[in-house]
Symmetry: C2
Subunit: 368 residues, 2 copies
């Protein structure tokens, strides 16, 4: 059977390995596995959210309120926008997909950093659009500018702020300056999946969605409940943009795109800012230990504005070997070799998990 | 800002109204609202599933096992297929979307009954493919044959068995006879969202996925946990087809396309067949009351193989007026006027809900 041309080029996203797989493959007990590969919140989910969701488990048979009235209400109050500025996705991933399908096609192109969130490229390939990348791994706006000016067909620019999987960020001023040079018909995606972390660490990094879309009608801000809010498994994200963009993306949103329990979880999560604040605080306290650890054993790091840290390894070390060796010890980290980097990405865990990481990594690093 | 051409034609799916909306708009207490518009299981979810999901609510921060190993294992044991024959979607809806995006494009066409599941057309429009429909509302295979033979570009045929929103079904023999006449490169979708109901009522309607795909390598069977299994709010469906089809559709599957709690719910739901059997039994017991009710007040019905029944109204009655009047009384049913039918679709509820429906409907029907 034949399939559409675009499918030929697509390779699937390689997700961080789940605990279940390590249990199956290495016979390690589930409670002994430490998952540091998917940037989940190591402090779990707000207990208030867990309790609220438990209470509505008997409503699983009912489709969710597809207008998502209450969640949108929570978001518009939080961000100072109106309902027509908001779209909800099954993770901000899904909104990325809507964006690509709405704007990109075989006759135009999209632009992104060399090493950034893998789904930009995967979704772009699925529509057969041209994919342009900077030569630097991290976001260098001058390189974005150069490429943008040389082409007249760039319809989407992805800025991942801060950037996954490397961790660097750009300041608001840098981003706004760049946006002023971009044409009205080019949609600029500000992927803020880790913005809570970046703006906690440095206020200069903070992108305010309402301010952004007021000044730039061609920008869309993406946020997620997967990281700071501790709901990675529930698949809820949001997009904030002007009404023209949102109403077009809404055409591609399938009905009931988030679950009944996810909707409840996100609504309640917005009410517990204290949990988020505490997660941010602990994250950056623990991050200091990683910075010191890396320094002590002579590993180069990229200063991180997220809940993960990337170790750039020397040539005599091999990221795949190290990640696999850690896996066999029950610690799941992310090998970045598929990005063309001899590096590993490690989610900052709880204090105890991090101590375990340091002990195990030291041994493996010395040996490998 | 400009968007891709295909978006112009898309109108969004109009979902059954949620309880929350009726509460907001008509100030009716949530516990007094009866939802009969979305074909959810009125007996809720298996208590075993509810309990199992409650226990893992503290895992919401973790992404699900993206291999969906355990769920696939449950399905392959149930259906006697292998892992490579299975794809999991956020509802079988999402698999419909993968199918359309994998096979249909601007240069070919898709074929469906005049009145069938609305998402076939919505997804087809999103890729700009030609949409062919039979002239009859219900599935008439001779009409499918005629259209198919006149065109050489039909790449997908949708058979909704039994058919939503009308309720009719085709026998396995009719379907197999039809499939024998279809070209290898045309993908035939057997949408079995309500198959548990149809095969409970009449074994001749039963399509066995393993047998189907063995005989017809160009067929895909779709099933869902939303109806018989009482998990409408959790968005889990599955597709069963030969490996070539599945591996192509998998390229369009975004990672983590179902939630951590949905995965758990579906795994556990497969273990409680008794709940499903009981739901089927009660559904058809209650269906008899609807048949009698319709007969008593002189409304024509379509014999239904599902958990809903469609009332075909006489010309002097108006489906929109009736559905709206019911809504104001807190009973949500589906007006089928958008399908070009002067008809309403009613989900078979619990005994108590149905009694309430009959009492309210009688009054409104006499007045309207």
């Amino acid at each position: 059977m034949n399939f559409n041309e675009e499918l030929k080029d697509i390779k699937n996203y390689s997700a961080g390995k789940p605990i279940e797989l390590v249990v199956r493959e290495y016979s390690i007990k589930a409670e002994d596995v430490i998952k540091m590969a998917s940037n989940e919140n190591p402090y779990g989910t707000s207990p208030l959210v867990v309790e609220a969701v438990r209470k509505v488990c008997d409503k699983m048979y009912l489709y969710p309120d597809d207008s998502m009235y209450e969640l949108k209400d929570g978001l518009l109050n939080r961000f100072g926008v109106t309902e027509s500025n908001i779209i909800i996705g099954a993770g901000s991933d899904q909104i990325l997909e809507f964006i690509v399908r709405a704007k990109a096609n075989k006759n135009n192109s999209v632009l992104m950093a060399k090493t950034t969130f893998a789904m930009y490229e995967i979704y772009a390939k699925a529509v057969g659009t041209a994919i342009l990348k900077t030569s630097s791994h991290v976001h260098k706006l001058d390189e974005f500018r150069d490429i943008y000016k040389k082409r007249d067909d760039v319809k989407i620019i992805f800025l991942c702020l801060p950037n996954n999987p490397i961790g660097e960020c750009l300041t608001k001023d840098e981003v706004y300056q760049f946006l002023r040079e971009i044409d009205d018909d080019t949609l600029v995606v500000i992927d803020g999946a880790y913005q809570e972390f970046a703006s906690y660490k440095d206020k200069n990094m903070k992108i305010d969605p309402a301010d952004l879309i007021k000044e730039f009608p061609n920008a869309i801000y993406l946020g997620t409940f997967s990281k700071a809010y501790g709901l990675g498994g529930m698949r809820v994200g949001y997009g904030i943009a002007n009404e023209t963009i949102i109403s077009s993306l809404m055409k591609l949103r399938p009905p009931f795109n988030i679950t009944t329990l996810s909707l409840k979880a996100a609504i309640e999560a917005l009410k517990d800012e204290e949990f988020v604040e505490k997660s941010m605080f602990l994250n950056f306290e623990e991050m200091k230990r990683y910075e010191k650890f890396a320094n002590d054993i002579g590993i180069e790091i990229v200063p991180s504005y997220t809940n993960f840290i990337t170790f750039l390894l020397k040539d005599d070390k091999n990221s795949t070997f190290i990640a696999n060796s850690m896996l066999k010890k029950g610690i799941i980290i992310r090998d970045l070799s598929s990005y063309g980097l001899n590096a590993v990405r490690v989610t900052i865990g709880t204090s105890e998990q991090n101590s375990q990481f340091f002990a195990t990594f030291s041994k493996i690093y010395d040996a490998g």
